[in-house]
Subunit: 601 residues, 2 copies
């Protein structure tokens, strides 16, 4: 019953008209990259996931995975689909050509790839997304011997990768992990400990699984400063023995490297994405990056995964919207309050009802606003690599600041959109047959993964905004203020520009309040963080919609542009006003929660 | 892993101090009813569901029901629990003594019974709740022969009842149903048609199932005006033959009365609550109430079920909160930003974090506010029956107006609370082992059942508020305005009374706007209805919290009352401000949704 089409027209608009994706990354080493190539990538990937991924999404939910004797078996359909993706090179678009990758800009992989993949099969998409993250950390920070051996198979997806952070007693608080790494004489380490919530920690989709494991080498500093990052393969090379990886083939040992899976969580959704308890028992591992400096590396990967998780909110929001829309076009109930629109039918379709339109437009407009911000973020990810500091520094600052917002705001909205779209469908929305309930369950994890949204908000308010004395915020406020100024006297823009101006001013005021009060009382900042993050997200989406409106005002009369203008109006009238309440809540400070008597909870 | 305790202390406070439950219903025919009796009922029911229902809730979710050859088998644990409830009289508290009931006031059954039942096993609770609804309609409107035969077994729960409204093409829009009822010569009817989404339409919990079916008798008026209500049993009496029910025993025929179940929906949650496709094939049925006047009767039952559905939002919100709270007391991650609170432990418990407290207090404070409004509504349900029009008329008006708010606002909040509580628990919240994910799935149907929340909002804004030239609203505004006036000069009350005053004034202004603009453009009213309903819900909860604060200010220094005061502060500072954004959205009118070009959705 579920259907989906890639939102290609929207990407064409965003990458060509709102942002000049190709022009923005000129000279950054993507020489053969042009619009035709990007367009071809988007079309090819859209076709691939519609044909190969979408049909297996519900199968994965229903069949799930099988855990037996420490082994996890994935549905055959998943293995076939994954294999085809590896063969066709779809997991290697942003990997370096020297590792067998396509060398295309990150903006495709981080944005369009991620959205289409999560829309059509979220539980499968996380496997190549994680592997790409492992590949990138390794390619950037691994010693050459390690890179030479592992990077190629990770780049293409022939081998899979994982992130092993959480332990039973240590999730958000990684400083208290107890997994240890003891040095061997040959330069490798013996890793021992238990990790939980390890996505795709064990499965039969690939011949080998390469874990990036956080562990402490005895004698190091306390807390997070004593954490190092290790590469720990499920299977060591067959010929391996003396600690060196040079000139060793990819043939693998028959016995596992002390790595075992002792269970897989039963979850509300993502039934075909294993969530494993992983045990490392004197497993051989290689240090990645400097000793005791594992946290910054893991955060590098984590930040990419945070953006990817944000895209899950958008991806699931998009497919939920498309299916609710299809339903509402066919479903006939009641009459337009202003008179029957289809008098020959027993009832009008439910699109005539203002409240149904409200639900559909909330979903659509939030999806499209998020997609615009994602497109911008994708371009910035490539610009970060520029040799020109005038390009790379603002890009880096903005990505740092946008990351928690994309992660938290997109996933909050994705969960809300899945719920709203279920509501459009009434009872059918709650029944498995119609698919939307799976999206509702699947997308919910995205608010938790890679640091809960509360943690994202603290990262934004307590770190990203104040970093470098507010440098990141200035990189946003400069172009935003310019835009507002440029449009100050444009009457047609007033309906968009005025609320944007108010929102931007409000953001500055609240930021000053949070930072100022936060210096005296850190609880003030923490108490307002979640509302602040949502306020900030709204201002960014307002900026996107105002920029979109500016473009569309020049092409009035063309249906696509008229619809975008109407969407921008919906945003400013029906979504953006929530900032009023958020500001008031933040201003009330930490008293309302901290003064509640603890014993009386 | 899941635990729950009845919130008895809160009910004691509400029924004794905030409202005088016993005094309010004095002289209404509940002569033996006093505080001891109500207290005993609450304690007994709390103990029963904690011991009998709570342990089977997760079993029901996991095992679900079995559909085979038109029969639905329920888990054995459910059959045992239900049987025990019938034996102990727990489903007959509000039924009339002449039918074997306890004759206790509705306020217990509609409020406390409903909350405790849905908290501990929502999928079981709907069976007696529906049966009570069927019993009440029958006892009120059935001819004596029908009442004599059916009311007793329905009153006690020995037989079960259902509501059969929805058809595949007709859900919200019942005017287009096609189930027909042809008159027999003996005064009965032959009912034929298909109904979907019939909760507990078929099961093996009781010997007989009594369906209330909406159908059209040929030759009647078009639309909802031609709908009649029929009682259709699964099994007819064994001796039955000549159309009369007098002096016939409860022995049942071996063959079904043309009633069959052709399927049960697979749903996201409520796995142990059958959702059936029911077919009636020339089934013998009895008219209940006057011919062609089935809709008002069905609405009578529907309105009780709407309140019951609202209570599901509270019930699931409460158990989600209790479990998230237990988790947060045990879970240690990070440190209080102002310095370690448990320096001897590796980390502080997460209750020290302002954002965790925000989540817990949002949940707790919304639960308690809803419980207060529910308690008031419960008392009004009994007062509706008073012979004194000065009592019954305001009660009826307020219940009419509160019903859509309790249904929509409580269930919206219940879904939000389940999500917030899952978020408190991080990854554990998403795993089945910890139970909260079941609450998240189960509670979601409550926004859809008995008229989606969008329909509730339209009922409120388009009907209940304007009914009798605004009579219902005046019944609220009089005491509310008095309360605000009384406290105008009370300095201690200012922090509660001022925002309440603003909210009440805002509600009046928005109501005038909605009604005024709605006369010229019905889309205006429909476009703002959902936000209006939420605004209204917030004002009612604000009124509850201000009344609670008034009481608690007099008992400062006692922990329970201090905590309530802190909760009231949290409400006004951290929840109520959302009304600011809602008002702005409503004021923007229908343009943002209705002007969106339909072809471009």
């Amino acid at each position: 019953m579920v259907d989906w089409d890639p939102p290609s027209r929207d990407y064409e608009f965003l990458f060509n008209e709102v942002f000049d994706a190709v022009g923005s990354i000129e000279g950054l080493g993507f020489d053969d990259f042009d619009w035709d190539f990007l367009s071809m990538l988007m079309e090819g990937w859209g076709t691939h996931v519609k044909e190969v991924w979408l049909p297996i999404n519900e199968i994965g939910d229903r069949k799930g995975l099988r855990f037996e004797d420490g082994k996890i078996s994935m549905p055959e359909e998943f293995k076939d689909a994954y294999k085809r993706g590896v063969e066709e090179g779809w997991f290697a678009t942003s990997s370096k050509p020297e590792h067998g990758g396509m060398g295309a800009p990150t903006l495709f992989q981080a944005v369009t790839w991620a959205e289409f993949g999560t829309s059509t099969c979220m539980s499968l998409s996380v496997l190549p997304a994680l592997t790409t993250g492992v590949y990138e950390v390794l390619a950037e920070h691994g010693v050459s011997e390690l890179v030479d051996y592992y990077a190629g198979n990770l780049a293409t997806g022939e081998w899979a990768g994982t992130m092993c952070l959480t332990e039973p007693h240590a999730g958000t608080d990684l400083g208290i992990i107890s997994t240890r790494a003891d040095p061997n004489e040959d330069g490798t380490y013996r890793i021992s400990g238990t990790k939980i919530f390890i996505t795709y920690g064990e499965h039969d989709m690939t011949d080998n699984i390469v874990h990036l494991v956080l562990a402490k080498v005895p004698g190091g500093p306390e807390g997070t400063k004593g954490i190092s990052l290790f590469l720990v393969p499920k299977y060591l090379p067959k010929q391996w023995g003396d600690g060196s990886l040079s000139e060793i083939t990819h043939d693998l040992s028959d016995s596992v490297n002390g790595v075992s899976c002792s269970g897989s969580e039963e979850k509300m959704g993502l039934h075909a994405s294993p969530t494993c308890v992983m045990n490392f028992d004197e497993s051989v591992g290689w240090l990645v990056g400097p000793l005791h400096e594992g946290m910054p590396l893991m955060f590098e990967m984590m930040n990419r995964e945070r953006l990817a998780t944000g895209m899950m909110g958008l991806g699931l929001g998009e497919i939920a919207y498309q299916n609710a829309l299809n339903w509402s076009k066919d479903r006939r109930q009641g009459r337009d309050l202003k008179g029957a629109r289809s008098p020959n039918e027993a009832a009008d379709n439910i699109l005539v009802h203002p409240d149904v339109r409200r639900m559909l437009l909330e979903s659509k407009v939030n999806n499209e606003g998020c997609r615009a911000l994602a497109a911008w973020t994708g371009i910035l990810l490539d610009q970060m690599r520029s040799d020109d500091p005038d390009v790379s520094e603002p890009a880096e600052g903005l990505v740092a600041m946008f990351t928690p917002i994309v992660k938290a705001h997109f996933t909050d909205l994705g969960c809300e959109t899945a719920s709203t779209c279920m509501q459009v469908m009434g009872g059918a929305g709650y029944c498995s047959e119609y698919g939307v309930e799976q999206f509702y369950r699947d997308v919910r994890i995205s608010k938790i993964w890679e640091g809960t949204n509360g943690i994202q908000a603290l990262d934004l308010a307590g770190r990203k905004v104040t970093q470098g004395f507010g440098r990141n915020l200035r990189y946003l406020m400069w172009p935003l203020t310019d835009f507002i100024e440029e449009n100050r006297d444009d009457e047609e823009m007033a309906e968009f520009n005025r609320p944007l101006h108010q929102g931007a001013r409000g953001l500055q005021q609240i930021t000053l309040l949070m930072v100022g009060e936060g210096m005296a009382d850190p609880h003030f900042l923490a108490a307002g963080a979640t509302d602040y993050c949502r306020y900030f997200g709204n201002v960014l989406l307002a900026y996107m919609w105002a920029r979109i409106a500016k473009i569309c005002l020049k092409r009035k009369g063309e249906p696509f542009y008229d619809a975008k203008l109407a969407s921008a109006r919906f945003f400013f009238n029906r979504i953006f006003p929530e900032t009023l309440g958020l500001a008031a809540k933040i201003q009330s400070g930490p008293g309302p929660m901290m003064e509640y008597p603890e014993a009386m909870f």
